[in-house]
Amino acid sequence: MIKLKSITKRFNQFVAVDNVSLEIKKGEIVCLIGPSGSGKSTVLRCINGLEVPEEGQVLINDTPLIKDDEKYTDLKLKMGFVFQHFHLFPHMNVLDNLTLAQIHVKDRNETEAKDIAMKYLKRVGLEEKALEYPSKLSGGQKQRVAIARSLCMNPEVMLFDEPTSALDPEMVIEVLSVMQELAQEGMTMVVVTHEMGFARTVADRVIFLEDGQIVEENHAEEFFANPKSERARSFLNKVMH
């Protein structure tokens, strides 16, 4: 489904992602973890074209993701992206947030778009907030709306960049349980997270990054029970205690 072939991404001279290769299969749930600044977000952003690597290739369903290519928009639409800070459109109510791209990108008519929006709002448990403006929602609610907004575009993969890091602790659970449900329904997911509990129970595979490189790639249970690398072990020691 997703293949990264030796991608390298630099910011000026600084190498944020250093020769990273990985493959994500359909239906897989992969967590990217690692210390702050290790390049997790940058890897994730390279997957859907928010950053463009200087070297290497990003393949979506075996098609290279190349800006200005005719297939670019179609490939991008196969991927939903959820940001740490939600990025809802503050000047529209929740329903309009969910229908905007359906109408202008998917060419759905308004009734159809609204039906689909309400379906996904129900899925994240927020159908009664359809007419609220984002400013009236709690952080957890905003993030669930953002997830619903992505799902309205019927992506094949969902990419999450620390979806719970900006939330108060009591709201983390409501977002994680929406993600867990998605996982159970068979959605392919790549999740950058500091929620080790989530990674351990939901992920199939864990990729541990440091200094822009993949240090360890392992089954989730194996990774937490018995990490192969010394660096992963010391990282886990720090974050679990």
């Binding site: 859907n48 074209g49 928010l50 928009t73 991008k76 639409l77 991927m79 939903g80 992206f81 940001f83 800070h85 990025h87 809802l88 459109f89 503050p90 000047h91 529209m92 905007l100 791209a101 202008h104 990108v105 998917k106 403006y133 400013s135 953002a146 907004r149 992505s150 575009m153």
Partner: protein, 227 residues
């Protein structure tokens, strides 16, 4: 000091000042409108991917903001008839109101360029990214996501710009336009007392600027509703 006040405070004089105020208001409104158009063009130029457009946009803004408005008006007053003659070969007596509106528009356009540009730049880049991940094109993002948000930020300073224009329109009295300030001077000259008509002109200016601020505050309250 105000011995002549009752003499000056006649219906005819008040109507005369009122007409002057209307002219000031009209000139400011026209300059705001054309300035807004120039501002949209200027901001687009400054955000263009073509170096030449960005460069022209910068020059426009810097030249206008770096020189006195009075000088710009006087220069245009001198240049326009000469240009007309150079192009058509005939001589005209320039309409000072037209020149006034053009000068004020060009001046306002430079400030509006910056207002619009910073209004757009002030929108979090996460909005662009979210729109991008949803498949919206740059143009759609600008139209549906960025501009509606930028608009709310642009309206309040645009109202200040309008108020500035009402006050600065007094500068075109120097090229012979009879707007509010000049009207007061004309009355002053007939009664040999400028104090009373100037004071009245102040009241007129304040009536205009304060009522615009008042309406603007109401409008801002409305616009802020979704925030």
């Amino acid at each position: 000091m105000f011995v002549a006040f009752e003499k000056v405070f006649t219906l005819a004089n008040m109507i005369y000042l009122f007409k002057g105020a209307l002219i000031s208001l009209m000139i400011a409104a026209l300059a705001l409108f054309f300035g807004l158009i120039l501002g949209i063009i200027g901001a687009s130029a400054k955000r263009s991917k073509f170096f030449l457009f960005r460069w022209l946009g910068n020059i426009y803004v810097e030249v206008i903001r770096g020189t006195p408005m009075l000088l710009q008006i006087l220069l245009l007053f001198a240049v326009m008839p000469a240009m007309y003659t150079a192009i058509t070969g005939s001589v005209i007596r320039p309409n000072v109101y037209v020149i006034g509106v053009i000068a004020l528009s060009i001046n306002s356009g430079a400030y509006t360029t910056e207002l619009i540009r910073s209004g757009i730049n002030g929108i979090d880049k996460g909005q662009w990214e979210a729109a991008e991940t949803l498949g919206l094109s740059n143009f759609q993002t600008m139209k549906l996501v960025i501009l509606p948000q930028a608009f709310k930020r642009i309206v309040p300073p645009l109202v200040s710009e309008f108020i500035t224009l009402i006050k600065d329109s007094s500068l075109i009295s120097t090229i012979g336009a009879v707007e509010l300030l000049k009207s007061a001077q004309v009355i002053g000259n007939t009664y040999f007392d400028v104090m009373s008509p100037y004071t009245l002109a102040m009241v007129f200016y304040l009536a205009m600027t304060l009522s615009i601020s008042f309406v603007a505050r109401k409008l801002e309250g409305r616009l802020a509703q979704s925030d």
